[in-house]
Symmetry: C2
């Protein structure tokens, strides 16, 4: 039996959902409300002491880290293959999944935190937020949340992260000049990793991702979205977006 603990269909949670749906694998979905800090609750820390989603549980064995989970899923459910058989294409795939993990996703995540943290923390007293913070297992994450909530990041930091996003989109644009998908002729975990991050970027980051600067990425984005598995993953429950619609944009 496969179980997935995940947040709404965005970022690293979307990454694994896209892989599961592409392969048509049945799984039990456990939605974790990361806006309510459920991933740091004691019962969740028993599953993943790092306090992070997504987490795959396969017949009782826990596997963490979305990139590792997707490689694992492709190994045990090889059809359709999402890792290119050709070693060079496979290396290109891993350069993208690694780049997403080390540069693109952290930049997107820091910007996202800065923009939305107060919609979360404003509902909490100072003491409640301090208690939530204290439960975050990883020191780097604790520090990231603390700074975002307290003074916020500097304009210089935000600009640097936006340059990283532009760099990443540039890498995608260059790769798509060579083939229809990021690693070459086949849709792969590279497309999945990048789309999981870029899914909601058009519009929100219109200066970085648009028809003039990155026409191939825009076309790729439409082709990825058109895949039935992608539509199914994006249709998974999204409590944060529902709440945002209900309460309107933060003033």
């Amino acid at each position: 039996m496969l179980e997935l603990y995940h947040a709404e269909p965005a970022s690293n949670s979307l990454k694994v959902l896209l892989c599961l749906k592409e392969k048509g694998i049945d799984f039990v979905s456990h939605l974790v409300n990361i806006q309510a800090f459920e991933q740091h609750e004691p019962q969740f820390l028993k599953i993943n002491p790092d306090g992070q989603v997504p987490v795959l549980v396969h017949d009782g064995t826990v596997i963490t880290e979305s990139t590792v989970i997707n490689e694992y899923l492709d190994q045990i459910f090889p059809s359709p293959p999402l890792r290119p058989a050709d070693p060079l294409e496979c290396a290109r795939m891993r350069l993208f999944t690694k780049y997403v993990d080390e540069y693109f996703r952290p930049a997107l995540s820091q910007i996202g935190w800065q923009l939305m943290i107060h919609t979360i923390t404003d509902k909490l007293s100072r003491e409640e937020f301090a208690a939530k913070l204290a439960r975050i297992p990883r020191e780097e994450k604790r520090e990231k949340w603390r700074i975002a909530a307290a003074q916020g990041y500097t304009a210089e930091q935000m600009a640097a992260w936006r340059r990283t996003l532009a760099e990443g989109i540039g890498k995608m644009e260059a790769a798509l000049a060579k083939g229809p998908w990021l690693a070459g002729p086949h849709y792969s975990l590279a497309d999945i990793a990048c789309f999981a991050m870029a899914a909601h970027m058009p519009g929100r980051f219109g200066d970085i991702l648009n028809e003039t600067v990155s026409p191939r990425v825009m076309d790729w984005h439409r082709r990825v979205r058109a895949r039935p598995a992608v539509a199914a993953a994006l249709a998974m429950p999204s409590p944060m977006q529902a709440a945002a619609r209900k309460h309107g944009p933060a003033s």
Copy 2:
């Protein structure tokens, strides 16, 4: 034909050398003097625009990133296998190689920079160093070098990175309680990635890595060192260490 552009046998360069030697693969070695910033010279940037070693060139095709290179080498030269056939063990392997890339190696690298940057920069005028800095392609690296050379990192930052190293050694100790090697019964790319970082840690980081705190890691370290392939990799030219021996410890 395989060519490897690499620095002395330490860190990410050692990681790929360990893999090549374990498999007994012939390759042309190009030693890049990173203490002389050769990885940022225009002729090297033509090979890897990121200005980083190691770089594998296979029949003219460039592959970057040591973790990606080692997976590639294991795919094209499958004997002896360095990725476990068992999917769960393979996932454990990747959790280690990823952890090394994202946490352990950056922590070790920042500490290393702080300790040794002045042995490099003191030989340069302020203008020469500024010119070297300006050529570093990746903004994050440029900033890391600039801060280390200028004011240095804070005691708080250095302490946080030492805690990360202790956390990493703790993860290795826990894994080695379950099997002889980090991913289970087989020597794998996980052992290679961790040893590439920990090779020179006993003694230098005696408070973090010792017989009391991490006896299994110490035993593992001896078992890894005893492998002929590891001895061969560590015996590769090491200009920096030779220079340190010649000039004595920094005053």
